[in-house]
Symmetry: C2
Subunit: 202 residues, 2 copies
């Protein structure tokens, strides 16, 4: 895979949890290459030097160990959301402006995800067939996938991966919807509070 | 405030978004002191050297600017959650074990937050009265608070802060509940899938 193929993949599948900036991707790939988890092959296409990245055996082993360790829910904490907590100290008009901006950003993000989910849903069967075919053409990749997944066929392994791709999109959508409902509720309280001359509402 | 008082405050108010380890707190305070946002006063109590931290004028100014900038929803993305996406490649029994561990961790976190919310709810009026009294005894703190909040009375500013303290807890509880529902739904699909001999379910 080239970095542009990886980027397209991240945009389609991981946009809820992962940045797709080329800078941070390059930094991450550099680390993986240094650790020997990924190898680089250079080739020329249309007079341009292209870099193709492949996972190594060491990388497959590392991945197998990593995917088995549980999510650390402490690491899911984000101080960025903590900003909301400190909003109580800000003046009322700043709180309202803050909430409105957040709600509008989240609505954009929600629409973006909906488009992706729609596209992924419609192309699911074709995507499974295409990926299965592509993987079967590469004996090393086929071997790695069957080893890591413990499945007997490439089709089954690809279907599992594809299911989680959709679950992740569902998760992103549900999360943004829940966040939106929450921030809208708080905005409502703020607007009510300022109408009734700032008395405490809950 | 001493670091132990800060820690107790974080545990009570910010446990959904922020780590309360003394190590990371010390590192954060060191940075704030270096930047001149926080000052240190040392004093001896019961034969122990204690350090008291106070916010400086520069710190108040910085805070006023910071609280006005919107949340960057891109920064709320956590690769830790992204692990879920890669679960599709793992063997079925690993996926089920992973989901069960995650659900059980989240249930513990939920119970912890419920206890905090119950306590905060019950003590809300006393807390507002106590904090108002404490702040009024400190003319510098009173001045800072009225300036940053734009409120005319300390009571009103403290009530606003207290409201957002409760909103943050509500947010944490709703978020964990939504996550729990989601992961339970996926676990159900996984268990159904393995019963019916691994056929694709959505």
């Amino acid at each position: 895979m080239t970095i542009y193929e990886m980027r397209a993949y991240i945009q389609l599948n991981l946009s809820t949890v992962c940045s797709d900036s080329l800078g941070s991707m390059q930094a991450a790939i550099k680390k993986l290459v240094e650790k020997g988890y990924v190898s680089v092959t250079e080739y020329v296409e249309n007079n341009t030097l292209k870099k193709q990245y492949s996972v190594t055996d060491k990388g497959v082993k590392y991945y197998k160990d990593w995917v088995g360790t549980p999510i650390n829910i402490q690491k899911m904490k984000s101080m960025e959301e903590g900003k909301f907590f400190f909003l109580g100290i800000a003046p009322g008009e700043k709180r309202v402006a803050f909430l409105k901006a957040l709600i509008s950003d989240m609505e954009v993000e929600y629409e973006k995800l909906l488009v992706i989910k729609d596209y992924v849903g419609k192309t699911q069967d074709t995507a499974i067939a295409r990926n299965t075919k592509r993987i079967k053409e590469d004996p090393v990749l086929t071997g790695n996938l069957l080893e890591v997944s413990g499945e007997k066929t490439v089709e089954k392994a690809v279907t599992n991966i594809d299911n989680y791709q959709i679950y992740m999109l569902e998760y992103g959508l549900e999360k943004i919807k829940a966040d939106l409902n929450f921030y809208k509720k708080i905005l409502k309280r703020e607007l009510k509070g300022s109408e009734s001359n700032g008395c405490k509402k809950q």
